[in-house]
Amino acid sequence: MSLLGGGIFKGMAVTLRNFVGSYFYKDRLTTNDYSWRPSDKLPQRAGEYPKEEGEQLRDTTTVTNYSRNFPMLLHDGSEPMDTIRCVACQICERECPPQCIYIEKSTEKKENAGGKPQFFPATFDIDVSVCMSCQICVEVCPFDAIVMNSQFELSTPDRFGGLLLRRDDLLKSNGYYHKIHPEEATARDKRIAEEKAAKEAKKKAAAEAAKKMAEEKAKAEAEANEGTPDMEENTE
């Protein structure tokens, strides 16, 4: 024999506790008041969204170190195109699930970060209106050239060109990468260093095997991607 309307009173007690608790406990008031950016710094019009690196860093302070948003291309030094890691192998273009990457290989080779003459991407476009931030391109990249950025304020009044990130928009320094994803970047750098050391230790054999592997892989992927639509349709 329970009290008449007892369940309703219990429920009301719960809501009252939450009402009062929201004034006293951070736990009960999870809503953020976006105090991280003063109101005069808020973009007043479309198109005023920050694109510079410093601004982006400020933007990324609301998201955690682990979040991913859209890909970016890494370079090691000060002059982006001299130290770009990407060699335009086009694996990411082929593996990209929504097919949002478009790469044009350069015709001549150029010295890159490793000091070896390599191809480089003459064009590297990512259509961020198509990209679904899945990070597959990062995983398949054999050169650690593409990683995830955490910049999210990309809104623009131009829905065609504005949402198409060009190679120069995508190029970010390794230092920036360390700033936004410190743990991940450190781990990645460590792994690269280890691989390099191992490579130098048994250069010859490894080089032989790698060559073989790469051929096989390229063949397999060429097969896998037969009949995929051309990227030009997406980017235009």
């Binding site: 309307g5 007892g6 369940g7 009960r28 991913r68 899945c134 892989k217 397999a220 896998a224």
Partner: protein
């Protein structure tokens, strides 16, 4: 179909001398606040009583299966996130499980533990927000839903720290996980799990004894045991109809046989909305039990097994299934020796649970049709694919 033939067989129109009542046809959806997405119910009403109901779906069809047949095995992993966007972890798992059967990869122990942790956290997320949505359909002003979201946020933070995304996690890989969880993650997870029962107590106090909720849900949308079995209903909905069937217990996939947990199910007398609601509330407690055991037993080690760099399985047919929060989620793959699957088929729990909607709604009020739909727990991403 004329209106005369479309009336449900077990319903009699009240006929008066010389006065004919006509039915009101209402198209609820696809833009309706309570259809949980773009779903339409063509309802025929006699006053407020539902005499016929035709579910119409397909508004969110994204060609999921055909897309997957045209790309490599790995590349369709992020698309599985988008099936049931509340539970991307379990979707990933079902697909990974199927693909692992194709090439027989060993999954490291730490990865198995993390998979169980992620799946059970997903179950908490799903059930807690489902209950919120369900009470919202009952007409509450979103208060339970926002409490649910408050807690869900903590779990989504964990997902983000582990996988980089809150909802589209894309975290599982063939043979393990994409990356290990960051330092301190397990402690944070333990903290969240330890504090979750307090929230559940409060939630139960708010909802489980409320007279209005009791009288709104009891005896509404009855689903008999026989119909549930013959229609292929799975998950909490099946258990609410009194069938003790849980794939975690039946298949003992992954390492579920190492954990002690119980499966709540009703005595099968009614199988109404209240049973479906309560079974989910009780299941959350069991999930917390599993989580506590898993977080206690997890050891160090690699998280990614010996997965081949190029995934090119030999011709085979496999079916991998997991107990997703909404029911049995299965992936059926036919490999033909190329890097792309020849056939890729999803068995979505939402769609199959939705098939009994008409049987449950007939003769109920229009307000009940809304909560019956809510209690089925559908996600249109999974229904339409």
């Amino acid at each position: 179909m004329s209106s005369a033939t479309a009336i449900a067989p077990n319903y009699e129109l009240i006929q008066q001398d010389g006065l004919e009542t006509s039915l009101l046809e209402v198209s609820m959806g696809p833009h309706h606040p309570s259809t949980h997405g773009v779903f339409r119910m063509d309802v025929k009403l006699d006053g407020e009583t539902v005499v016929d109901l035709q579910p119409v779906f397909g508004y969110l069809h994204r060609n999921h299966e055909k897309l997957a047949e045209n790309m490599s095995y790995l590349a369709s992993m992020p698309f599985t996130d988008r099936l049931d966007y509340f539970n991307s972890m379990t979707n990933n798992w079902a697909y990974a499980l199927a693909a692992e059967k194709l090439v027989e990869i060993e999954v490291p122990e730490r990865a198995e533990y993390l998979r169980v942790i992620m799946a059970e956290l997903t179950r908490l997320v799903n059930h807690v927000s489902l209950v919120g949505f369900f009470i919202n359909d009952l007409g509450a002003l979103g208060t339970p839903l926002l409490y649910a979201f408050r807690e869900r946020e903590k779990i989504l933070d964990l997902f983000e720290q582990a996988s980089g995304a809150r909802m589209m996690c894309n975290y599982f890989r063939f043979g393990g996980l994409r990356n290990d969880v960051p330092e301190g993650w397990l402690d944070r997870a333990r903290d969240v799990v330890d504090r979750f029962p307090d929230f559940l107590d409060e939630y139960e106090k708010l909802l489980c004894e409320n007279e209005i909720i009791l009288s709104r849900t009891q005896g509404v949308g009855n689903l008999s045991r026989e119909l549930a079995i013959s229609a292929g209903i799975t998950g909490p909905m099946l258990r609410a109809s009194g069938v003790n069937y849980d794939i975690r217990k039946v298949d003992k996939y992954s390492i579920y046989d190492r954990f002690l947990f119980r499966v709540p199910y009703s005595d099968g007398n009614v199988g109404d909305c209240y049973d479906r609601f309560m079974v989910r509330m009780l299941e959350m407690r069991e999930s917390i039990g599993i989580l506590k055991q898993a977080l206690g037993g997890i050891g160090d080690g690699p998280v990614l097994g010996n997965a081949p760099k190029v995934f090119k399985p030999k011709p085979a047919e496999v079916y991998g299934r997991v107990e997703a929060p909404k029911g049995e989620l299965g992936f059926y793959l036919i490999a033909d020796g190329t890097p792309k699957p020849y056939r890729y088929r999803v068995r979505p729990p939402s769609l199959i649970n939705l098939t009994v909607l008409r049987d449950m709604c007939l003769g109920q009020k229009v307000a009940d049709a809304v909560i019956i739909l809510g209690s089925i727990d559908i996600v249109l991403g999974e229904v339409d694919r």
